[in-house]
């Protein structure tokens, strides 16, 4: 039975940009904010929202891959602090060390993430416990490294990049685009991406199809660690130094953005595009509340409630789909009642 072609256009949109409703919410928030919130609709405010959202976007992209495999990475906050202090320590204000520092920092994040991934994949234990433990260890190392104080400084060329605009666009947003493009390409256009979805969808079946589930999981955690460390570099452009607690709060914000962006916590569904929408929603909630003078305290409550809602909605739809599929079953073998004629 032929279907209208709009259907495949929608599914293509969803593959790259995430669920339509996420972007509907983003659009509605922009409209509502412009109408209802003073100072929201200013170009400078949009630029500020964009600048503030980029570090979270970098972390959340990595987190998306982990959640797509069916895991969760709670260590991203500590990894971000590590990336922030390590890169600033290595750079120490020298222009010539920029690339060296960034490269080494990202490698450190990759290695730390891969270690968590190895433990998760090999010991087959819940990833949240492993990464909770890893978060403590990494944070301890950060404190040891920085003597618990502000540490290092960015090269002059990086200072203020976090607040700069290139034309009407924030510099950080433009710098994010290549990263986003690569992430989307890996997700939708490579074997690795496809195997991430398969691993999260059903690891046993993925294994039967010859996919190394272990390798996929390790790679996802490594990517998450590397990107969180990179986000630490990005945030130094806004902080102007290395702060041992730079990452505080990024763990839950990242999970919130990914979940709001339509990626299922059970794995196998969703993607980076929706996560960007989720990041924008989180950033705009923060912006609204800041503009309205609502305390950050309420923002925490709001995030908790949003996750509750996402969890309940997810569990509800899961139950409903399973039920519907059961109810649609034929009686055993009833369709093939009569044997076809000979010949």
């Amino acid at each position: 039975m032929p279907r209208p072609d709009s259907r495949s256009a929608v599914s293509a949109f969803q593959r790259w940009a995430g669920p339509v409703w996420v972007w509907t919410v983003v659009g509605a928030m922009v409209v509502a904010g412009s109408l209802g919130v003073a100072d929201f609709a200013l170009l400078s405010n949009f630029q500020a929202v964009g600048q503030a959202a980029v570090p979270l976007a970098v972390v959340a992209i990595g987190e998306t891959f982990v959640i797509l495999t069916g895991g969760i990475d709670i260590s991203v906050a500590a990894m971000l602090s590590l990336g922030n202090t390590l890169s600033m320590g290595l750079m120490a204000g020298h222009e010539g060390r920029v690339w060296f520092a960034i490269l080494l920092t990202v490698l450190a994040g990759l290695a730390a993430g891969a270690t968590s991934g190895l433990i998760v994949a090999k010991l087959r234990v819940p990833s949240f416990i492993v990464t909770l433990g890893a978060a403590n260890i990494v944070q301890g190392i950060v404190f040891a490294y920085t003597k618990q104080g502000t540490y290092g400084s960015p090269a002059p060329s990086l200072v203020n990049l976090g607040y700069a605009n290139w034309g009407p666009f924030p510099a950080l947003v433009i710098l994010l685009l290549p990263l986003l493009a690569v992430a989307l390409w890996v997700q939708n256009r490579t074997r690795a991406g496809r195997h991430v979805y398969a691993t999260g969808g059903d690891p046993a079946i993925a294994r039967l199809a010859g996919i190394s589930v272990t390798r996929v999981r390790i790679a996802a955690f490594a990517a998450s660690g590397g990107l969180a460390a990179l986000a630490g570099v990005v945030i130094s452009m806004r902080l102007g130094s290395g702060e041992p607690l730079a990452g505080t709060g990024f763990d839950w914000d990242a999970v919130t953005a990914v979940v709001i962006g339509g990626t299922a916590l059970r794995g196998g569904k969703g993607g980076v595009g929706g996560t960007i929408g989720g990041v924008l929603i989180v950033a705009m909630i923060n912006d609204f509340m800041n503009l309205q003078g609502i305390s950050t305290f309420w923002q925490t409550v709001a995030k908790g409630i949003v996750i509750f809602a996402a969890v309940i909605a997810g569990a509800g739809t899961e139950l409903l789909t399973r039920r519907r599929r059961q109810l649609l079953r034929h009686l055993p073998g009833s369709a093939a009642r009569e044997a076809p004629a000979h010949g």
Binding site: S11, R194, I205, G210, I211, G268, R329, S334, A336
Partner: protein
């Protein structure tokens, strides 16, 4: 990927003296078979005869204990289904091996995605090739559809397409038609004939005997893990095949039946019971003191029926999805949970004792007293002395061999574990006992003992309904036999006037004349 196909009649796969055990059960005992190019080879046998185990070994899902496989003349031992598939052995079975959240195309090419020169996955090629193979198998879904959004029949066709796209030289089909529509089945048979004519060797497992005679060239019958017959289909008939399927050996002894006067009122009366997708319009009655056997093929809906009677239909369905009525001791009841079933005096010995019957890591005593935990307590505090006495009683009564009531059930043998499951309900003194495959994976000694207990229970006034896939067991133990097929009760037989062949024919749908002569009111 084109494979050079062998000339018709040359052996593609030779299995010789394959042996496989699961615990006590010998699944395959020196089975040898040859599957030839250009031949559709049907594999028949009762539930548990070893057909599925044999195909799983050939396709690399499991490995054999003994014997060897030769594929295209070379000795092989596949580590995984992926490895077997890469070599040209494709297995299509009922359990879908699709990732529900991925698209049809992604599933068809999972683990072997074609790539463009730039290194990306070539989605155009996937789309093109998937569309072609879907058209070929007669599926109406599209390459871009997400698998979980499709009806079961389409998913089954995707599964078939996924395997056929690999152009296997040996194609194993384990009941591929179970969820397909008539048109789909007709198309599938056309494809099977085409493949055969192009030199593919096909192994075909089905419970639909008519289908087998319509399509197969050769038939091999398995019984108790041994080959009992292998013949060209033209040289045999349905009744011979059925004869070769039945006659399983069973050394266990059955206790003599004693005629108990039937009370006028049934203990359990089921009228028009239905559960969407599992069974439909099931009616029967159960009287005190009788043992009723429930025969039928796996998937006929027997387990789901007893689970539903016990207030636990298969998840995510709930007792609210049940239609029809159930009466216990003449009073109409709504059983919405096992708790209520137990309160009505019903007990269930489930099919799989390890995942449904026993808390393996906990003590014997704790398992035996679990159904009456609350009654053993005063003010919420468990009377452990009473519990221990109760457990000791049952251990003695059922002659459970154990060092003490304190050891974890896991440490017992299969037969003794099964007795513990029985003991749960004996201790509870149920008036209706539902048994689902009560002697599976149990040694002969324990089987004999279990039969004796069941009979003893009946003589003491319990009404017993038991499911078994072993026809000798059904014949030996039952006072009456109900045959279930495709979710309906198809026939009622008396053990004295029926035979294994007649029961199997009814279960297979070959004998339609035997309707229940008196609809139990």
């Amino acid at each position: 990927m084109s494979t050079t196909l062998t000339a018709t009649g040359t052996p593609v796969l030779e299995a010789s003296r394959i042996g496989k055990r699961f615990g006590f059960t010998v699944a395959l005992d020196e089975v040898s078979a040859t599957f030839r190019a250009g031949e559709i080879h049907a594999l028949l046998g009762e539930n548990g005869a070893g057909k599925t185990t044999l195909t799983r070994i050939i396709a690399g899902v499991e490995s054999a204990d003994t014997g060897e496989l030769r594929f295209a003349g070379e000795r092989v031992d596949f580590a995984s289904p992926a490895a077997a598939l890469a070599q040209g052995i494709g297995l299509i079975h009922q359990e879908l091996s699709l990732i529900p959240s991925l698209s049809v195309g992604a599933n068809v090419f999972l683990g072997r995605e074609p790539r463009t020169t730039r290194g990306s996955v070539d989605d155009r090629a996937i789309h093109r090739q998937t569309s072609a193979i879907l058209r070929y198998v007669g599926a109406s879904c599209r390459s871009g559809d997400v698998v979980e959004s499709l009806p079961l029949a389409q998913q089954q066709l995707v599964e078939i397409a996924r395997i056929l796209d690999r152009r296997p030289r040996l194609l194993i089909m384990d009941e591929p038609t179970a969820s397909l529509s008539r048109e789909n089945v007709a198309r599938l048979f056309e494809i099977m004939r085409e493949l055969r004519d192009s030199g593919v060797a096909i192994v075909y497992i089905s419970h639909e005997i008519q289908e087998v005679f319509a399509i197969a060239d050769r038939v091999t019958v398995l019984r108790d893990g041994r080959v009992t017959m292998t013949k060209p289909i033209s040289e045999t008939k349905a009744d011979e095949v059925v004869r070769m399927m039945v006659g399983r050996e069973l050394e266990a002894l059955f206790p003599p039946r004693k005629q108990v006067a039937r009370s006028p009122q049934p203990v359990l009366e089921v009228a028009g019971l239905s559960l969407p997708g599992h069974f439909e319009d099931v009616s029967f009655s159960l009287y005190a003191g009788e043992v009723v056997g429930l025969a039928g093929l796996v998937g006929a809906g027997r387990s789901e029926l007893v689970q539903s009677l016990f207030g636990a239909p298969p998840s995510p369905l709930t007792p609210r999805d049940l239609g029809g009525s159930v009466s216990v001791h003449g009073r109409r009841v709504t059983i919405s949970s096992p708790r209520e079933a137990i309160a009505q005096g019903i007990g269930l010995v489930p099919e799989d004792r390890k995942t449904e019957g026993l808390l393996l890591t906990l003590a014997l005593a704790e398992n035996i007293t679990l159904p009456q935990l609350a009654e053993l307590a005063r003010y919420g505090v468990v009377d452990r002395a009473r519990g221990a006495r109760l457990a000791a009683e049952q251990i003695a009564r059922l002659r459970i061999v154990t060092p003490s009531a304190a050891v974890p059930v896991r440490s017992l043998s299969g037969g003794n574990q099964q007795k513990v499951v029985l003991a749960k309900w004996l201790a509870k003194r149920c008036s209706i006992l539902l048994l689902d495959e009560p002697t599976r994976g149990v040694d002969i000694g324990a089987k004999t003992e279990i039969y004796a207990f069941v009979r003893e229970l009946a003589e003491n006034g319990t009404a017993v309904l038991f499911i078994s896939s072993s026809l000798p067991e059904i014949l030996g133990l039952s006072d009456r036999i109900l045959v279930m097929r495709r979710g309906r009760i198809e026939a009622e037989h008396e053990p004295d006037t029926t035979s294994e062949e007649r029961l199997l024919s009814a279960a297979l749908g070959l004998a339609r004349e035997e309707r229940p002569e008196h609809a139990e009111a």
